[in-house]
Symmetry: C2
Subunit: 356 residues, 2 copies
């Protein structure tokens, strides 16, 4: 029903990551001319294998989105930008808030400045996050919910969201922000254990381990399958004038963490999950139950999630059964988040300040 | 009625600026032990003359708030922090967004990290701004109004606001954010013409010039006199457990821009104001009418503005009649914003990333 991407030039920032690569594959299959900008920042989920099915069909620019000179050619003639580059880890952001600010906020200033100069008014689909709402005041969470991030990552993702909205109000961009709930599916990073619980769940059951749940497991989530998020992004990118600029995009059903874990364990044939106390550092940023009101995006863009968790998780496991070695070092099946990051933290190159 | 500051150690960031220095003078007179941290970033309104009345009574640390080693001693034993350091110019932020991010956001990460490690749980009064609300959806604007900044400065001030609130929710700080409307009074910078209209109005009429108003002059504002804002800040710093963490603090009455300009011209004995079209760059960030609902702070902290504009403006003019040469280079009575800033932009020293 939506406008076709055939022969249209699109740019995907963070296109080696989980959602970005999934988008790239779909867009190539639709006949789009896909350019990926990604500099594989450690801890952000980039994996060259993610784009293996379309490796010869996309143009890959190994550059930071802050590297405005490297962007000149990729941006020229671009019709839609899917802006997914960034860091999503709560835990990285609390340990290294400046790094999170550089990656999620400073880099976006450079990127959006280049975009507004090169192709003013272009449609940009920005990958926002439900994290900006923090612990919900009410359920399900709609777009009017107060903004109340519980970590530096949420603050910085929201700052970047505000850049997109502000520049759109000025007519310099035509942005649509998708505030995504927990996304899972093929190509999610398994070696970055602090990017949310779903990657960890998949890694564990795919390597024959059972799951541990923090708390009583009654808190709700609405995981959304990556193909659904790809479809939401394509709809947002192809829509004409949008009635709203921020849309929540959630899964098809709220499930308890206990149910999510049970489905994951059953799918993989590993023992039932066990329960344990919340560790202190996790408790501080736990938000209780969360699920999404996707009414607005359904009405405006005709999108709603279609893949139920049982089915999506099965497809995900099938993918990792085939490709696990590309996602996990077999000598280190339980990578530790902080230790992996401390020794070398590559950060976004700092550009010189050049007043407009 | 409020708790006394006598013999209490307080720290004021940005204490050489307009509001910070006014606070310092009041606090010294109350017998507080005042430490100022200020590195006089060009364009942010610092002026050593501002603290002339108490120059020998305060401890002045010439350092960036991002310089955590310089902060160790000033923070020790500190009971209340008034966190006012920052850049408030719309125009600077649009021309140099990275500079605004460094000053208003990155520097606050460093500062608040030092604060939470050295004196966890301390009361911090953060100088927020009405700018975060953008163009009002309704009037008067209360604390529930959506956040919708119209410039990079508003985004970054809001990011810093979220840091304060997030760290308070975690128990690492005890912050109170005052979202101030347009503040005016003695010590406002006159040589930084892009920090809002009131400094420009004062500079012009104090040097015998009349005023130009953009548009029809019917848009409303509620200017608040600096002594009232000092009183609000002292109340916020001295209050016990607060019922809310964000308070709007506005002036005693909404006035039209035409009325504000007429009062200013009449007070100074210069010709009546004239009207002209909005310049394009201003129009983009104009927010129409704005005035504040201060109900929440009145109920919780017993504060409301008391100084009417006519009286406050008279006191302001009296101050500048006496001290004008300390605020304005007589050879350059109409300083230009962008030109002054472009050649040398001192920015906050970038600290090394040290994971916690």
């Amino acid at each position: 029903m939506r406008v076709s991407y055939k022969n249209r030039k699109v740019l995907i920032t963070g296109g080696l990551g989980f959602i970005g690569s999934s988008l790239a594959i779909h867009l190539v299959r639709e006949g789009a001319r896909v350019v990926i900008v990604d500099n594989s920042v450690l801890g952000c989920g980039a994996n060259l294998f993610n784009i293996a099915p379309v490796a010869t069909d996309v143009e890959l620019i190994h550059a930071s989105i802050a590297d405005t000179s490297a962007l000149a050619e990729p941006l020229r003639g671009c019709e839609v930008i899917f802006n997914l580059a960034g860091e999503i880890s709560h835990i990285h952001s609390m340990a290294m808030p400046e790094r999170d600010l550089e990656i999620n906020t400073l880099a976006q200033i450079h990127f959006l400045t280049a975009v507004t100069r090169s192709i003013p008014g272009v449609r940009v689909v920005y990958a926002g996050t439900r994290q900006v709402y923090g612990a919900p005041d009410y359920l399900p969470v709609d777009e009017k919910h107060p903004i109340n991030p519980v970590d530096f990552n949420g603050v910085h993702k929201y700052a970047a969201t505000m850049y997109h909205l502000m520049l759109s109000n000025m007519g310099q961009l035509d942005a649509v922000v998708l505030r995504m709930t927990n996304v899972y599916g093929p190509r999610i990073a398994l070696d970055v254990p602090c990017q949310g619980f779903l990657g960890t769940f998949i890694r564990k059951v795919a390597t024959g381990q059972s799951l541990e749940i923090f708390g009583d497991g009654r808190q709700l989530r609405d995981p959304v399958y990556v193909d659904d998020i790809v479809e939401a992004s394509l709809a947002a990118g192809a829509a004409g004038q949008v009635r709203n600029r921020s849309y929540n995009a959630g899964g098809p059903e709220p499930l308890s963490m206990a149910d999510i874990a049970a489905i994951a364990c059953n799918s993989a044939g590993v023992p039932e999950p066990t329960f344990r106390e919340f560790p202190e550092d996790r408790k501080m940023i736990d938000i209780g139950s969360y699920y999404t009101d996707s009414t607005l995006i359904r009405g405006d863009l005709g999108w709603s999630a279609t893949v139920r968790f049982q089915e999506g998780f099965r497809r995900t496991l099938d993918y990792y059964r085939e490709h696990l070695p590309h996602y996990l070092d077999p000598s280190n099946p339980s990578p530790s988040c902080k230790l992996d990051l401390r020794p070398t933290v590559p950060t976004v190159k700092k550009a010189t300040i050049v007043p407009a």
